[in-house]
């Protein structure tokens, strides 16, 4: 999705991939993911220049990813910088470590923060 990606934020590439995955998913898949996650995540990402961009991952009402603040309202707002988000999405860093080291700030329904790792990772192996 061209409107999700923002060249000033390299990590937004991953968000646009996520957006594409959601749009390609079937209704049943989307519904299942929504039921499991049941939350609207607002990502406030700050890039190297200090600019802040906001994206929303809606896994509560519609099952999509878009640029801009949450409509109607986010359940949890996560503040992190571009590099941190990239590492999270790549799996190099997990939510807990990011939080512990202060690279991830959480506001709102904190329990949803623990779900972020799952949301970013599609197609996990099963134990």
């Amino acid at each position: 999705m061209s409107d999700v990606k923002d060249p000033a934020f390299p990590s937004s590439e991953l968000l646009s991939v996520l957006a594409e995955q959601f749009s390609k998913a079937s209704e049943a898949e989307k519904k299942a993911q929504i039921k499991k996650t049941n939350g609207i995540f607002e990502l406030r990402i700050k890039n190297k220049e200090g600019k802040e961009g906001v994206w929303t991952i809606d896994l509560k009402k519609e099952g999509k990813v878009y640029k801009g603040p949450a409509k109607p309202k986010a359940d949890v707002a996560l503040s992190l910088n571009d590099a941190t988000f990239k590492e999270l999405a790549d799996g190099k860093l997990n939510g807990q470590k990011a939080f512990m080291t202060g690279r991830l700030k959480v506001k709102g329904n904190v329990m949803l923060a623990t779900k972020l790792d799952n949301v970013l990772k599609q197609g996990k192996s099963k134990m």
């Binding site: 390609k24 998913a25 079937s26 049943a28 898949e29 299942a32 039921k35 499991k36 996650t37 049941n38 359940d75 799996g91 860093l93 997990n94 939510g95 807990q96 470590k97 939080f99 512990m100 202060g102 959480v106 506001k107 709102g108 329904n109 904190v110 329990m111 923060a113 623990t114 779900k115 790792d117 799952n118 990772k121 599609q122 197609g123 996990k124 192996s125 099963k126 134990m127």
Partner: protein, 628 residues
Amino acid sequence: MAFQAMMSGGADCSTSANPLSQMLKHTEQDRSLQRDRMVPGAPGASLRHLPSTSSAAPLDARDRTLADQFFQAGPGPSASPSPFALESMRRELDGIGAGPAPRAGDWAGDFTRAGSPWTAAQTPGLTPQEREAMERSFQEAKLHEAHHVAQHQSAWRADFLQNQQHITPATAAGPHSAAFEQAFNRSFNWDQHFTMHNAKGKGKARLVELDDSKWEEQFAQFTSTAEPAAVSASATRIAAVDEDKALEAAFKDALKKEGLDVEKDPDYLAEFENVWNTLRQEGEASNPNLADWEREFSGEMARVREDMEDGLGRVGEDGFPRLGEYRFELNNPYLSHPDPLTEGHRLLRTGGALSEAALAFEAAAQREPSNAEAWLWLGNTRAMDEKEEAAIRALERCLREDEGKLEALISLAVSYTNEGYDTAATSTLERWITRKYPTLAKAPSAAPPSASLNPWASHERVTDIFLSVARAQSTGELDPDVQVGLGVLSYSTGNYDQARDCFAAALGARPEDWLLWNRLGATLANGGKPEEAIDAYRKALELRPTFTRAIYNLGVSCLNIGCYQEAAEHLLAAISLHQTGDGQAVNESQSLWQTLRRTFFAMDRQDLAALAVPGSSVEEFRKHGFDF
């Protein structure tokens, strides 16, 4: 002094450097007594850890009269007409900000005010160990209480009323009593408050959420209103007030720094709604500020309520999925079998198809719904067959029939983790370890960090428990399940290296356990080592060739390394294992079809992706050149 202690934290602080959470953690301890009263879910369990009457601070005559006075008195001699001192609350509100900030009424503040002497360890009463014990038993009780709400409401109320006497002596002793009692009378009505909480009928866990931050403020503001009355008090009293003010200031700062993030938690809101409605009725005329956030609040409430009533499939506030009852297959040939449970085991032993074995176990469960063993094996088989939701339903039912079935707890924790219900997995593992190692699990450890700000607080706590048990076993006999539990905990936070070590250790003790080989494989795969993962899956399949889940995982790993053809073939093989009979099964595996579709997209074959929907026949795909 107490304030300093709180701020510097000490050895038992959480890893978070947040002063707010440290404060909250500290003050959480104080409420342990209160919480024990309110948790009837395991009244025996929680009360067991309470100090018996004989060991509590001895009630002297003066304290007893004070206690009686305080509990029987209605609104006391002060000027405020309302039992809830709304104007001071509103002042607090204005001071804090415009966010929706429901205050649970002064009772919480008052109780905490009562708690403050404990914090400072200034009064006799519970020793820190006893407090810890209560805290821990409360935590355990909290885990159990999710399903025990309704029938215990009256029980805990009676319990609480009986035990009120215990609370007062500790807090009313000495020069504090007069001012305390007076202030308490002025702005509190215990009965009414607890009735309200009862009426709401949510899990008692709500009460814990309530406590987290609001009462601190109320306590602070309450202290400021109580100050005039305390002028004649002793030096200790004055010192306490100073501490309180400093606390209040620091707390406000910390809150502002955090941006009041706890405000928006629907858990708090759910509980506060009821309290607030009652407050509104009894309170003063409406104030424009009140109306604003009230509106926002009821908007939030409507949303939360709607979510909660949505029923099946939604995640509850406690992090557990609401999947409902198990759904049996129709046309089950094993229903007429004389002993389906044994037959199911035989099928598993002889390497039969997992779907067949599952049908046999379903028959067993249908015939004997109270047989936890049948449900356990039904759940395990469904999990192996890559049908996670069915597995979760069966395992949850198993635990409802027999909450002591340890193997079910482990399997369920694994299933929860696979589906992303991390909080539920952590709670389930905690249940397991406290059941299996009650002495070790209850060992005095670091005070539980505040759950409200650190999303991973309970996870860390449970991991610590597992680690201490594992360490205790490092010299003697290792329990592979402890390693499995640790592995699952590490896996859920993405700590795949540690998880791998745990599963490898478990495999050392159980080298023929195909489930463990698959778990090791999944850990390696998610940890970014697909080739090693594939080796582990192959080992699992050597031990059990019909292990559908391992075949699915093979497909996922092949997909990740770019071997799309192979990936599709593995997935199709897994699906074909499912399609034993005619027609679509009740318990379909969404994950198999979804991953197959992703594979086809990766191959740029939209046509095949369109065909890959639940209910299609796999035979179709043979025509397209897939060999399975």
